[in-house]
Symmetry: C2
Subunit: 228 residues, 2 copies
């Protein structure tokens, strides 16, 4: 069985090993192929049975050119790079990695919020420079400090990542409100589902965990405008 | 009734108002007096009934020199700046503010941890400088990224602030272990009490929420050495 990794660099810039995959067949790894539709994609897939991609698009044209393909694995959560509707028609299974980013993205998002609240890197650097030691009260701030307890976070897109961020925000003492087209009980246990308009009106902080479709992008603009 | 604030600057460098206190008597606010024992402390208290301090020490000598004092309010959590044993003997109540820092200090402590994990300020700055946009994979990191889920945080001093930090760490997916001389049920609901040696052996991250007494400082050194 032939296995082709089309864009291995993002996952493995040199610090990981692909040898686990070699056990399953003849493996070819390309660091990059093309992040836009291009003939090289089908050329590199050739007669491989298994195709592994991250951001390289697998279009209807590519699928037609590579009839040997039996399985497409997307090494990401979003699988919009694959024409999965056509794959379904052709009986080619497509898999993604739905949860690899749940903990890391929600943690990162909270880290961004805390950077706004504390400018930690700057503060740490100025402490090293002696600003704390030389301050008569041992107490200074170059930026306003923001305490999150009692403030309201509005989460647009309350899936796995949004809910996980909601849990952390709740532990920080924040009120959690969320907007999602598919409310569920996991979400209800963490926060309150509200309409988008209510979310924009009530939230002190807005965080987005949704696809950046044109429709959602319009929503984001609306959110920005409302808070400015 | 005379009220004296000995070191108002830390609480109110100009962005707050003392007028609420003026309703209760004749108020005098000094920005700073002395953070070490000095005759000026008793001179400024004079015949005031109420003394408000943050870091200015109120010693036995000062208490003897100011027999009119009926109440000492410490605008901080730690009240070691007041000879409270002698106050008790003299029947002078001393109050502190035990909880003003619970949310803010635990939030700040987590922000410090996330700075180590993400160097957010640096990353944000380099994104603004175009490093993300110009990266072929839209994916880069100048420092190793650390995911906290599944890692163990060891909290030395598991009082209000330590426990609140434990809740946030737990929401981040961390295992919480704690050392405290006074275990309680609130703490048991958040994490696992362990001995100090076990904490030092098991923790990936150590956070200190204890007084910096010489005994505890020795413990900190031990912790540092163990992790280096």
């Amino acid at each position: 069985m032939k296995i082709v990794v089309l864009d291995g660099y993002t996952e493995n810039p040199g610090d990981l090993s692909w040898s686990g995959l070699e056990e399953f067949g003849e493996l070819t790894v390309y660091d990059r192929t093309s992040y836009e539709e291009a003939p090289i994609i089908a050329e590199r897939i050739g007669d491989a049975e298994v195709v592994i991609t991250n951001k390289t698009p697998i279009s209807r044209e590519t699928i037609d050119k590579c009839p040997n393909m039996k399985y497409i694995a997307v090494l990401a959560t979003g699988y919009n790079c694959v024409d999965y509707t056509y794959c379904k028609e052709k009986g080619i299974p497509v898999s993604n990695v739905p949860t690899y980013g749940t903990a890391s993205v929600s943690q990162y998002s909270i880290a961004l919020l805390l950077e706004i609240c504390h400018h930690i890197g700057h503060h740490s650097q100025t402490v090293f420079e002696g600003k704390w030691q030389n301050n008569p009260e041992w107490c200074y701030w170059d930026y306003p400090l923001i305490e999150l307890e009692g403030k309201t976070i509005g989460i647009i897109g309350f899936g796995r990542i949004g809910q996980q961020e909601g849990k952390i925000a709740k532990a920080l003492g924040m009120n959690v409100i969320a907007y999602d087209v598919y409310p569920n009980d996991f979400g209800r246990a963490i926060g309150e589902y509200v309409s988008l308009d209510e979310l924009l009106a009530r939230a002190d902080v807005i965080t987005l965990h949704c696809n950046l479709t044109p429709e959602n992008t319009g929503m984001i603009n609306k959110a920005n405008i409302a808070k400015m």
